[in-house]
């Protein structure tokens, strides 16, 4: 599908996709996870994915709790393991559209091995990793993506460990589709997610989210708006080419579609009729 960037905000009513009886939701004011969720549901709407045929598998964390708000088949699994559960579900039920929602800790620390192998297998599903640089749910501990020198409850003198680039990791492990986006422009994020949904194989999207209440406060990064603006400033949108991006350095995290390969999907090879050894 050639996804034309467009804004269908008028027709799209996010409330139709949500379990409104669970409101008020648990997210802190300004939390970036909310925008990520909105973008995801908007992408579902525009790609006309049936909520009955959708299966959302999430891990444990603030990110993992998002699943419950989606009016669909939702599976809130164990910390770090949503990709493992999703692999079983997707293999058992090829008719379902499987989407994984995970956090930076969930996906890259405790669940890192599952991510690597999910990329390698290239089984059809989409993994949305909400990267807020911190363990939000447990009160703000360091994560594999916490920027150098940032303060967290377990790096009281600043973070001295190197940072993971999850997209490079996913690409190296063989993910068929890799993308990254910030939450500042929800339509842009939505368009990226739409392409990930549309890809036949394992698609990985890193969504740069912001934990305003804990990480933002601890590091005096300002309110949500300021955090999002500085996230945007620290990225280098691929689509803008090389010249315009100069001002965005020295932390040029690439955004947009970073990988789209023609690798065969996990089930593309058919061994039916073959003799066993």
């Amino acid at each position: 599908m050639n996804i034309e960037p467009h804004v269908s905000a008028e027709q799209f009513d996010v409330r139709e996709y949500m379990r409104l009886d669970l409101f008020p939701h648990f997210l802190c004011p300004g939390c970036g996870h909310g925008m990520a969720l909105r973008a995801m549901m908007w992408a579902l709407y525009e790609n006309e994915i049936s909520m009955d045929k959708l299966a959302v598998v999430s891990g444990i964390g603030c990110s993992g709790r998002l699943g419950a708000y989606i009016d669909s088949n939702t599976f809130h699994t164990t910390h770090g393991r949503p990709l493992a559960f999703a692999t079983g579900l997707a293999l058992a039920r090829p008719d379902l559209h499987v989407v994984v929602i995970t956090g930076d800790g969930d996906c890259l620390a405790i669940g890192g091995n599952h991510l690597i192998h999910a990329c390698r297998r290239n089984l059809n599903m989409t993994c949305l990793m909400l990267n807020n640089e911190v363990y939000g749910m447990t009160g703000g501990q360091v994560s594999p993506t916490t920027s150098t020198d940032r303060y967290t409850t377990t790096t009281p003198y600043g973070n001295y460990e190197p940072v993971f680039d999850s997209c490079k990791l996913a690409e190296a492990a063989g993910a068929g589709f890799v993308g990254r986006e910030v939450t500042m422009q929800v339509p842009t994020l939505k368009d990226l997610i739409r392409q990930a949904f549309d890809y036949n194989g394992f698609s990985f999207v890193e969504i740069i989210s912001d934990c305003t209440e804990i990480f933002g406060r601890k590091n005096q990064l300002g309110e949500s708006a300021e955090m999002i603006l500085s996230q945007k400033a620290a990225t280098r949108p691929d689509s803008y080419g090389t010249k315009v991006d100069e001002p965005f350095r020295p932390n040029p995290l690439k955004t947009g579609v970073l990988v789209r390969s023609e690798r065969p999907e996990y089930r593309a090879v058919n061994y039916q009729g073959k003799k066993s050894k």
């Binding site: 419950a68 599976f75 393991r81 493992a84 559960f85 079983g88 192998h117």
Partner: protein
């Protein structure tokens, strides 16, 4: 169905794979580990023929997650492992118990703890099988003692798991797993194969964890329009997290009561010559077979001994056991560990009759002669 001769000489682990296929298992995820790998190898071969899915995952945590995921999608699912892998599976096994997702976990016991003795038999996971995952949780553990019984108990494991929406562990020692015996592989009659109770009624207001008379709620199949939320968090009848004390306690109570309510269906044991026995030997797996031989020899010498063998190990068949040991002077618990089943037996007996332990942990099986000697000492 599989094209197999009805009587065949097969290995215990292979019988497990064949039993699973016969029970309707159509998804297997695993990770190689001695002495269980032949179960995975059997499934890799057999599942293909019946259009099922086999996947070797990156570790045991992922294997356990994958079989629960596949079961949530509606497929009867199984994994197989041994000690170290069984430890890794525990968190997701608890998730299956909490979310009431049927699945079968095979643990072929080797010597432990830790890496222990990979190629030697052990029975050191009796307590882990019951209490391996955290929190109060329901679980059924079956302990076959022959190749034929591995086949039939694997089928029963699936039937119980599907009927009661509870994870079932099939627990046997390496010796039984690697034993070759000629067994009857006639598939169980189709009408005896249990299928899960799928939700069929009203979608509006459907309560995925409703209190029903049999305490087993109907399961909603994703794609059927029920749009259910599944979580390992303590949840209410709607399936959403709750911290209301009454609802939270009821949620766990029902899980535990569910097994009590179906005790008759779950319970299974073998009792040999316990009626007039002065000493009743309690054992599982290969040790129970040594006990069987031992009582024959003892009776030939005029010593009245019997065997009580739990086939359903957990929940332990307490009432049947109590009855079997009523007139006995002593109970001898023989097991290849430092004394695990013995603690449960001591609790049940409460001093009457007295309990004597026979333990062996070096990776060697307990022999009939050792059991006979222990019985003779008890009666001295």
């Amino acid at each position: 169905m599989l094209a197999i001769a009805k009587r065949k000489n097969v290995q215990g682990n292979e019988a497990c794979a064949l039993g699973a296929i016969a029970a309707g298992c159509r998804f297997f995820a695993g990770y190689p580990i001695t002495p269980s790998s032949e179960v995975a190898e059997g499934m890799a071969r057999e599942l293909f023929a019946v259009g099922g899915v086999f996947v070797q995952m990156e570790d045991e945590i992922a294997s356990m997650g994958a079989i629960v995921g596949a079961s949530m999608g509606g497929k009867k699912s199984m994994t197989a492992t041994s000690g170290p892998g069984f430890s890794l599976k525990q968190e997701n096994l608890g998730y299956a118990a909490m979310t009431e997702t049927p699945c079968v976990v095979v643990n072929v016991m080797r010597g432990g703890p830790s890496t222990g003795m990979p190629t030697r038999p052990g029975q050191g996971d009796i307590m882990q099988a019951r209490w391996g995952t955290h929190g109060d949780h329901p679980i059924i553990v079956l302990s076959p003692a022959s190749v034929g019984e591995i086949y039939s108990e694997t089928v029963r494991a699936f039937n119980l798991s599907e009927a009661l929406r509870v994870p079932v562990v099939l627990l046997y020692d390496e010796t039984i797993g690697h034993l070759m015996e000629t067994i009857d592989l006639t598939p169980p009659p189709p009408e005896t194969i249990v299928e899960r109770k799928w939700a069929k009624g009203d979608k509006d207001g459907f309560l995925p964890y409703a209190e029903t008379d049999d305490l087993v709620p109907e399961m909603a199949r994703p794609g059927d329009g029920y749009r259910v939320h599944t979580t390992g968090l303590t949840h209410d009848e709607r399936g959403f997290p709750t911290q209301v004390p009454e609802k939270a306690s009821r949620a766990v109570e029902r899980l535990l009561e569910k097994l009590d309510h179906h005790a008759e269906l779950i319970e299974s044991y073998e009792e040999i010559d316990c009626g007039d026995a002065d000493v009743v030997i309690t054992a599982i797996g290969i040790t129970a077979r040594a006990a069987r031989r031992a009582i024959k020899n003892l009776r030939a010498k005029g010593i009245k001994a019997g065997v009580f063998r739990p086939i359903t190990l957990w929940p332990f068949p307490e009432a049947a056991f109590s009855k079997a040991v009523e007139g006995a002077k002593s109970v001898l618990v023989a097991e290849m560990n430092a004394g695990q089943l013995a603690t449960e037996i001591e609790r049940i007996c409460g001093g009457e009759p007295g309990v004597v332990r026979l333990n062996r942990i070096g990776g060697e099986v307990i022999t009939p002669a050792q059991i006979e000697k222990s019985v003779e000492e008890v009666l001295k």
